[in-house]
Amino acid sequence: MPEQKDKHIIIIGAGTAGCTAAGQLAREGYRVSLIEKDGKPGGKVNNWYQLFPDRRKGEEVREFLMGEIDNPLISINLNTDIDSIVKKNSKYLVTTTRGVMPPADAILLATGFDLFNPERKEEYGYGIYNDVITSVELEEKFSSGSVLTSKGTPPKRVGIVHCVGSRDEKVGNFHCSKVCCVTAVKQAIEIREMLPATEVFCFYMDMRMFGPYYEELYREAQEKWGVNFIRGKVSEASENIEGRLLVKVEDTLAGKPLKMQVDLLVLMIGMENSLSGRRIAEDLNLKIGMNGFFSVADNHYGNNRSNMKGVFYAGTCTAAMNITDTISHARAAVVEISSYLKSSEREVEV
């Protein structure tokens, strides 16, 4: 273990990125303060029952993250919000709702993402019809061990709508949230496994199977599980007299509009930069990209650096990412922070 260094790093956000970076920095001997607005660390992965592409339990990644932050050099501050961040000489002074933190030599923003609020796409009926739910709510149903409609019956047919809040200029989001397509495929398989008599239809604009074994999972969904895919963006969902949901979509491959009834409609909600992250950006004059996420110093070789010396980024506050890429991005941030702290040390010596 390297000897303890006289440097202090504040990490904002104790999700996948924050926990990974904290563990790595502490192993290199840095003192780390982890600030988290929620009551427990782990972030969004806490909501997840199984993960793509191998359908391992979300719990296993949670355990890895908890192991990372189990280090005497890391102090964890839960239920804590940021009040202000001020730069003073080469130090950052962070005030939280629980008081003033010890001055930091570097800040790592790992503020993550907020889920798109599907009520903004009113035509899908979320918050209007009880059987229109989000991907996160479906995941909660998997965790609870049963997938039922609001009437308490197993759904005969489930529709899954891709790109809710993503690739849609009508809600101000041009970007692709990347992980929803493969999540839809994973959840479609899980429904078929849990309820073999239930038909599942995915309504997609493009199937974006970008990661290793994602395309294979898509193929498995068709081949082994009989999941149906219809290329087209759902235009609207409405409840009929029997209380079933009528979905309208253009079947673009058939070149015709299509209507069908479903018992449960699952909206694959996308990622947006978190509100808490954007507040910090205002405070520090950090650049926000046209996609709403933090703008990185260089898209190819500087995507952990910000426009402020000493302020770094990790994870989904810079772009939509899966867990694997978030962990890699957080580890890369540690390398950037470490080399920054070493060079600023040399500057002081001169």
Partner: protein
Amino acid sequence: MKNFGFSSIKPRVIDYDRNNKAVSDYILKHEPSFALCIGCGGCAATCSAARFTDMSLRKLNILVKRGENDEVRRLMNKCMLCGKCTLVCPRGVNTRNVIFLTQQAFRKLDNYAV
């Protein structure tokens, strides 16, 4: 009766809940690779019949799955069963057999055997 020149138009919309998907079920049962189509259109691009007719296996696959049987009936006999489509399919769908089974399914359907 006097003809006023009006006629009723059949809606273009695919009414999935009403359509009969027996042909699709029949093909899936005998040729499970049918499920693997991703609609890339490689088959239609190489199709010999498509040069001179509106035959499109890419489209036919989808229409079968949706139960749009009238259009399937119209298209399926334009195929010459040359099998070039099978050679190009990136998902390994036995496309020639899909057409063959489609024709067979309709023959059985007409004899009430599906």
